[in-house]
């Protein structure tokens, strides 16, 4: 049937397109932003996204994995866009950047709570800009000494490094994901620091001087899971997510995503919460006509 499905790949990006005579769909993965974590591939309802590990060359640092999208499976729903904490994926329909699932409230958006109280910023301070491991912060000081701090929010995974580094407590960050990252030091092979090599957040993992092994500083961890993918030893690295901050949504697709990202219990917890809400709403509706 007439419909073009194209795929083009380069080191900097991966583009797939589906072109109908009168409509076009595109999906772009910006490889300079993508860290190769597992989130999108976990939630893709078509199982169209695969993670390809980069083979490690001896004597070199481990490379982050690459994601690959099956152009024949993708139907451009935008779930991957919605879940990517790094903002590496974009879906474009007829030239418009859009995530249909978010638009139709079938899937939530991640909530990035970043607040900067610029009034407290000391002059000439660029601590946050320097500290951001992803280069997302730009501090500018106008000639009238008015300071602005620009954060590329849509690409920010909310690691909180800037918050800690800020000398005046100007920045407040709430994490998107909470959870637990545990390195089982008994299984962790010594001399290996693959996870550290690929972790996009400087400081979230570190090499302990004491035992020469990698340890986790959970304050900065975004729980994206790229470390788990490259870890060569099964069971050496335990990652579990417990909550995800997201806009409210009632959707089976999200429940399933939540289950995959966190756990069944977390999912049912959220469902129960929603159930309460629903009951309350029902009660409210019942009461309304009486009010009138």
């Amino acid at each position: 049937m007439p419909m073009k499905i194209r795929k083009s790949e380069s080191d900097s990006q991966l583009v797939i397109e589906r072109i109908h005579h009168a409509k076009s769909y595109g999906m772009t993965v910006d490889r300079s932003i993508c860290v190769g974590c597992e989130l999108c591939s976990l939630v893709c309802p078509r199982e169209a996204i695969a993670i390809e590990k980069n083979p490690k060359k001896t004597g070199q640092k481990a490379q982050p994995p690459m994601i690959d999208v099956d152009e024949n499976k993708c139907h451009f729903c935008g779930i991957c866009t919605a879940i990517c904490p790094y903002g590496a994926v974009q879906v474009v329909i007829d030239g418009k950047t859009i995530a249909s699932v978010v638009e139709k409230e079938s899937f939530p958006q991640l909530i990035r709570e970043i607040s900067v109280d610029v009034s407290k910023c000391p002059a000439n301070c660029t601590e946050c800009e320097d500290a951001c491991p992803l280069d997302l912060i730009k501090v500018t000081q106008a000639p009238d000494s008015k300071i602005t701090v620009d954060v590329k929010e849509e690409q920010c995974p909310c690691c909180g490094v800037c918050e800690v580094k800020c000398p005046e407590g100007v920045i407040r960050i709430r994490k998107i994901f909470t959870g637990k990252l545990k390195i089982n030091q008994e299984k962790c092979p010594s001399g290996c620091q693959d996870c550290l090599d690929v972790c996009p957040i400087t400081g979230a993992l570190y090499l302990s001087e004491k035992d020469g092994k990698v340890h986790c500083n959970e304050i900065f961890c975004t729980y994206c899971g790229v470390c788990r993918i490259v870890c060569p030893e099964e069971g050496a690295l335990g990652l579990s997510r417990s909550t995800i901050r997201h806009t409210p949504v009632r959707s089976g697709a999200w429940n399933r995503a939540l289950e995959k990202l966190t756990s069944t219990t977390e999912m049912t917890k959220e469902l129960r919460g929603k159930g309460k809400e629903r009951t309350m709403e029902a009660v409210r509706k019942l009461l309304e006509p009486r009010k009138k």
Binding site: P2, A22, F76, C77, K104, S106, G252
Partner: protein
């Protein structure tokens, strides 16, 4: 069986001078009277006229005749007449036999009256020999279920269903996709009147949906069909829509909240549809369905459906069983998508599209809202070229003409011209412009009048300008005799109409046959264009061959009328010339045989292990193929038994056998061709002694052996042309396989190769038959009786041995 001694009456017809002008009728009548068991013989001026028939009736009563032979014209002409005459005189109509002395003798041997008379005598003698062995038969009656199944909800099927429903019959309309409508619902306007397609089809679809006698079974597949005319059992599998049809109001609120869009195949993938949707707005039934391949199960639709509760994600496929008396097949056609033809660049060049895509483009309700735009830049093309015969009339693809492409190309050209006027240049590259039927040629003129440019010449290939995406069509303008390079901003390929991809599966399920192109075969190309070889199953519309809308509509109604001839009766009569297994002789009780069941073209024989095979009489068409194939001679074909045919062979070859050709001719083609040679008065040497069989598939190798054993000069089997002309689907193929094995064996035994022939002569080939007779006579002459006798003498002991088991049986019955 009542073994009454035969009392045969022979009636010789003068047929005015048609017979009497050549044949000495008096002599013939006297001869007939002298034959054993003949108690009465008389000649009439016109036996078929009332006085002639009266004489037969009278003679039966007065002389207590229990067999009647009429020596007159072809049984294909008057056998039914005289059977009725016998029945009126309380004689079982199957005690009647006809000797064809007009078409087979007087008409084809006028210049040798003596030999013609001699041949007529032998033909009568053969008929008397068969008559002696005739058995009474009773017509078989089966009950009829007064319901019909129409397969396919396109415009042909819709019309069949509506007509039958209006006649008062219950109709199940089975549709594979989610909605009825078929290809017609995809089109923009219709030629030659330019009515909007869905505007005229839509109301009919609604009528179907509302009719109390019609049950639409959509989104469902046919699984199996068993039974026979009047009594079909049909299994259907309904695919899950994940929507409870009764609860769905068709409001579309679920679609509005659905976040997922996938390519809409109904829109030729030019547009998209939601994961919960209908393929098009006017769908009937207006029931939504969920495509689970694409659904992400967010359940937004469940929320929006709310209290209607029409959505059920747990729906399973459902199998249903129906009883129907007749089936109409109206499954339509597919459009050839020329991806495999690199020369036109379809699928490679953005602005080369098929005509069906063009329909969706120019349609106001289509994905572009009726704007004709190019895929490459979304702009309106200033020149559009239509290329005809893409895939059609091409031996490398589809040999046939797809019929309606010329007209739809004209229609689309006119639509373009009327829409964009001078702003668009329209070309049509064609080989022959085919515009028969009402209003079509006028439509062609209208296109020329509007300024459409017609170029006679086949577009051979297309080249794309990689920058502008414009196209350059190469062809020869044949009227100028020059190669041309025609620039166009868009090219529309008018591609072939091809059989449905699953037509083969359907043919297997229904036991109907397909032609060389893959379309369903009609029973007779002229006189039974709607029937299939299977009684009770009819075809309508483009599943039989490409057809336009008016033709499909008429065929739909025609098929309804044909089906009604069955449905309107409580009982259906079946000719009793069927096969019957003698259970004691069947080897299937001892070994795993089942050859008959395998060879039966209608699947009418059951051969369950360790049980004798059984013929389902109502399904048997009486070709006799199983009888010839049975290795144990356990099956008999009524009215064409081995004994009867052996007796005919014996009589045919009593005198001067080496100078004769024994013919075994199939009723529908070769026998009819021989008749035509007679009616056309083609003269040929009177050497053949023809024996009629219903199908060449009936011709047992023993018949051939017996003929040579009795010293025949030549044996000829006359059959329908290979591979598809056989009236019983594959009888001729079976015969061929059988004879292909026999011929080399006979040759090895010393038979000159020309003496045993299998010839294919159609009912139209009277001339061919006559030429064949001449050629065979020459060969016979060339060989000379001495050589033949010598060969036969050598063969005889071997053939005696081979036929040993047949002879005692024959000896018994010929007593």
């Amino acid at each position: 069986m009542t073994e009454e001694k035969p009392r045969i009456g022979v009636f010789v017809c003068h047929c005015g001078l048609n017979i009497a002008g050549v044949i000495d009728v008096k002599d013939l009548t006297d001869y007939a009277r002298s034959l054993p068991d003949v108690f009465f013989a008389k000649d009439n001026r016109y036996t078929c006229a009332d006085p002639g028939q009266d004489e037969i009736r009278k003679a039966i009563k007065e002389n207590k005749l229990n067999r009647v032979v009429v020596a007159a014209c072809s049984p294909r002409m008057h056998e039914p007449t005289f059977r009725k005459t016998c029945a009126e005189a309380d004689l079982n109509p199957f005690f009647f036999e006809m000797a064809n002395i007009r078409e087979f003798s007087s008409w084809c041997h006028p210049s040798t009256p003596e030999e013609a008379t001699e041949k007529a005598k032998e033909i009568v003698r053969m008929a008397v020999a068969k008559a002696r062995l005739l058995q009474p038969l009773k017509e078989i009656e089966v009950p009829v279920t007064n319901k019909a199944l129409v397969i396919g909800g396109g415009i042909a099927g819709i019309n069949s269903a509506l007509d039958l429903a209006e006649m008062g019959f219950k109709v199940y309309l089975l549709e594979k996709t989610e909605s009825i409508g078929g290809h017609m619902a995809q089109l923009d306007k219709t030629f030659p009147t330019l009515d909007c397609s869905i505007c005229i089809e839509g109301p009919k679809m609604v009528d179907v949906g509302r009719h109390s006698n019609i049950e639409i079974i959509s989104y469902a597949d046919l699984i199996s069909v068993s039974g026979y005319v009047g009594n079909f059992k049909v299994k259907i599998k309904k695919k899950p829509r994940y929507i409870i049809a009764d609860n769905c109001t068709g409001c579309g609120e679920c679609r509005d909240v659905c976040p997922i869009e996938y390519p809409n195949e109904w829109d030729v993938n030019m547009g998209v549809r939601k994961a919960i949707s209908v393929p098009f707005e006017q769908a009937v039934p207006l029931v939504y369905s969920i495509n689970l391949d694409h659904c992400i199960e967010c359940y937004k639709c469940v929320d929006s459906c709310g209290a209607r509760q029409a959505i059920n994600f747990d729906q399973e496929p459902e199998e249903i069983e129906l009883d129907v008396g007749a089936i109409i097949v109206a499954t339509g056609f597919d459009i050839y998508m020329p991806y495999d033809d690199p020369l036109y660049g379809y699928g490679k060049y953005d602005n080369v599209i098929t005509a069906l895509e063009f329909e969706r483009l120019i349609l106001a309700a289509g994905p572009t809202g009726g704007k004709v735009i190019r895929a490459s830049d979304g702009k309106k093309p200033h020149s559009v070229a239509f290329i005809q015969c893409v895939g059609s009339r091409n031996l490398k693809k589809y040999e046939y003409c797809s019929g309606f492409c010329c007209m739809y190309a004209l229609k689309n050209a006119i639509l373009l011209k009327e829409k964009y006027k001078e702003d668009v240049e329209v070309y049509v590259l064609y080989m022959d412009m085919r515009t028969p039927f009402k209003g079509y040629e006028e439509f062609y003129r209208r296109a020329r009048d509007l300024g459409v440019t017609f170029i006679r010449g086949r577009a051979s290939h297309i080249i794309e300008d990689s920058q502008t995406k414009n196209l350059n069509i190469r062809a020869e303008d044949m009227t100028l005799g020059q190669p041309i390079e025609l620039p166009a901003e868009m090219v529309v390929l008018c591609t072939a109409a091809v059989p449905k991809t699953d037509a083969g599966d359907l043919a297997r399920i229904l036991s109907i046959s397909r032609d060389a192109n893959g379309f369903f075969m009609e029973s007779h190309p002229k006189l039974k264009p709607i029937d299939t070889p299977v009684d009770g199953i009819f075809v309508a519309g483009a599943c039989q061959a490409p057809k336009d809308i008016p033709y499909s509509v008429s065929q739909g109604s025609g098929a309804a009328a044909r089906a009604a001839t069955i449905l309107s009766k409580d009982k259906w009569k079946i000719e009793p010339i069927v096969a019957e297994v003698t259970p004691e002789l069947c080897r299937n009780t001892r070994v795993k045989c089942g050859i008959c069941a395998d060879r039966c073209p209608y699947g009418s024989i059951e051969a369950i292990e360790n049980q004798p095979a059984k013929v389902v009489t109502a399904m048997c068409h009486g070709c006799g193929t199983c009888v010839a194939e049975c290795p144990a001679d356990a099956i008999i074909q009524k009215h064409f038994t081995d004994e009867q045919i052996f007796a005919q062979i014996e009589e045919a070859l009593k005198k001067n056998p080496e100078g004769k050709i024994l013919g075994l001719l199939c009723n529908w083609c070769c026998y009819a061709g021989a008749d035509l040679a007679g009616t056309s008065r083609f003269e040929y040497p009177p050497l053949i002694r023809p024996i009629r069989v219903m199908c060449s598939g009936r011709v047992d190798r023993d018949f051939v052996l017996e003929a040579f054993r009795r010293g025949a000069g030549m044996v000829m089997i006359g059959a329908c042309h290979l591979p598809y002309d056989c009236h019983y689907i594959s009888g001729n193929l079976r015969m061929k396989a059988r004879m292909d094995a026999l011929a080399p064996m006979l040759e090895k035994l010393g038979l000159s190769p020309h003496r045993f022939r299998v010839e294919y002569v159609s009912a139209a080939e009277g001339l061919k038959y006559a030429e064949l007779m001449k050629e065979m006579a020459e060969k016979l002459d060339e060989l000379g009786p001495e050589k033949i006798k010598a060969e036969n003498a050598k063969l005889k002991p071997i053939l005696d041995r081979m036929l040993a088991k047949k002879r005692p049986q024959k000896a018994q019955s010929s007593k």
